[in-house]
Amino acid sequence: MSLTQVSSNKCAGGFQKVFEHESTELKCKMKFAVHLPPKAETGKCPVMYWLSGLTCTEQNFITKAGSQVPAAEHGIIIVAPDTSPRGCNIEGEDESWDFGTGAGFYVNATEDPWKTNYRMYSYVTEELPKLINANFPTDPDRMSISGHSMGGHGALICALKNPGKYKAVSAFAPICNPVQCPWGQKAFSGYLGSNRSTWEAYDATVLAAAYSGPQLDILIDQGRDDQFLSASQLLPDNLIAVCSEKKIPVVFRLQPGYDHSYFFIYSFMADHIKHHAKYLNA
């Protein structure tokens, strides 16, 4: 469980750092980014986990999302892990951008050859929080989760599968119903096999329909000009329909003119940090 600091840069009054560690869950070296707000120097801070989207590493978020200033303002530590195991030498892991490396889909794979390393769900919900709580001035009871695209899907399922574990959840252009979209179907069939019923355990829309637990408040931002929205990869309407029926509070904002990029994320990052701060600092 030893951490190796890869980089450290003063940022927004605190520090943006990147660490490397040997993951027991993923059986490979993993990097993660952590932003420590100024408040972390004197006291314990809540943690927001950020799950990135397809093809991303821990770098994309910390360099493009503009989260540090608002996070520093609200005294929130942000932890951004990588999106998949890397360098595991699994055959075909680098063949496509939407499966394998950079596309872990935040599931625990059950199929060979992925099941040994591709356990991103356990990594982000168990191993990583333990590691973070052990090494940083955190308040373990106050954590929340957010993400983009595949990471948005990850954030939603982590929250829906662990009632009460995350105080808040939000997402940018999440894959809301992976069972129904090409990306999800490709990934789930690869990682989880052909039995579709096992997929549902990682589908936000299905999970929402069965959710029971403390009140969740979900904030979702979606660019209207997102090509993946029109390609029916994201399917937010399905999730909204279920949440409306189940009375799970969601504010879904369709932002005109925005696409799927980090420029879109950057534009609404402060709103999301505020959404998390409302519950993390309550």
Binding site: I240, P249, V250, V251
Partner: protein, 630 residues
Amino acid sequence: MDLYEIREERLGTISEEAEHQEISRESTTMEPYHVVSDKGGRTARDVSTFQRFSVDTNESLRFEPCEDMSPSPTGAEDGDDEDEVFRDGGKESETIRNRLQEKVAEMESFAGHLEEIFLTVEENFGRQEQHLEQHYNDVLQTLSQRYDERAAGLEEEKKGKLESLYGQLLACGRAMDASKELIETAQEIYRCQDKRLFLKTVMPTIKRIEEFAKEEIDLTLNTHLEFNTPLVDLSDVKTMMDSINIVPAPSAPVINPQMPNSATQTSLRVCWSLFSDDTVEYYELYYRPVLEDTPADSTCAAHESKVKVKETHCTVTDLLPNAQYELWVTATNTTGISPASEKALYMTVPCPPVIKQRECTSCPEAALIRWESGNTNPVDSYTVELSEMGTDGTQSTVTESVVAVPTCQCLVQLQPGRRYLISVRAVNIGGPSNRSQVITVSTTGTYFHLVEDTAHPCLSISEDGFTMFYGDEELPISAMALDDNTFARCVAVLGDLVPVRGKHYWEVEVDDETEFRIGVAFEDTERNSYLGANNTSWCMRHILTPTRHKYEFLHNGWSPDLRITVNPVRIGVALDYDRGTLSFFNVDVEQHLHTFQCNLRSYVHPCFSLDNPGALTVHNGIEAPEYAFI
């Protein structure tokens, strides 16, 4: 008591003077009397009449035993040394002793009082004696002067008479001499022997005798023997003598200017003084209202009223509030009436203002209190008094006053999370009015009322003023009489938010099926447009479509595209002037719905509208949840 009654007769004429002194003394020696009064358990009023020493106020010196007096708290400490045995009776005897002590104190004060009266009487007696002596001297002097005058007159008359008699005597002598000479001449002629000579001379002599006989000699006294003694007019002396027994008519009293706190809404306490040498039986106080709309020289001046009093003060009652009165006073005694004093202007205090409960609005930092003057004519200013209410419901004394408020409203700075009792007084030169009714202001949250003047004719507002209804029935055109302030198109109404650039929070309760717009708008937002359709209003709009509930957050006709999965039925509205934000929350699930960034160039007011028949309730005075202003 007896002493006083015996003396009263004699004191009658000087008592006023004594009282006059009494009054001036009252102001300086009030304090010791208060101490006595506290001990004796008498009311302050009793004490003041007790002190007052004037004619026809026998009662004022009634020396009442105070049967119902409570034991003095100071007495308790004195009984410590008593033996155990006497403990039982101790209390009773203590009570008696306390009462005795009080009575002794009272009697001492009474004796002191009598002594003063004695001194006053003596002093007055001395003065009166001096006065009498002077009067007698005056009379004697007058009489002797009169005597001298008369004597001189008589002497003069005597001299005249003697002179006239002497003249008459001389004339008589001359006539006698003439007749004697005539007789001698006649005799000489008669004796004359020479007939021719006789004849020669007799004729002229006979002529002379005839002539002489013709002359009648007036032998009557042409001077009256009686001296002419005109009736002596001693009336002035008599008056002087009489005036020794009576006192001179008093001179004009001096009316005092109005004293602070001497006026009430309908009464004025007027004081005046007299010259110390004057003796006055009673005063007559005249007063009449000064009507501002009639010119000063108008003949139709208000009718004057008159009161007769024996004291040098009087409380005139049954007056008009907030009115100026002209007062003057005359003093009268047995001799006569004094000239009138100068005219003094007094003013009754105004009626208390009437707080307009429905137009008072508050937030955690301040309250805007509005009231009606309560007076038809203008007052000088208003005083707003506020006291904080303790957590146990006790009211502290007035903790703060805002004075010299020129208009009928006042923004009072307050502390958050407290309860205040606020009242208003109207003030004029005569003093402050009574307190208005008290309004309770709780600074838990923002509190406002709806401005019914702005309400669209189809919108009715409940009695408590917080629920609005948009009924099904069509209104006749005649009922659509609109003024400029009324929403003409949108079935809307404005709230009256306190003009404080802070944080404000309120909640709105709606029905799931009600189409509404809630938010804020500038006071001058277009009455002919829909809320949110212009750049002077910001609102959340609920629209029922056949398939779903649609929510819009409208400003200038534009709304972001957003979906809300749980229909808010209780909506929190958070307005933050500092950040220029207006946020909406689903209160039941504590969900943030939307935040506007607004350019709040001036104060905004809450606005509400119903786009289809239904109802909407405003909840006020709620403490803003923490999440409302992250």
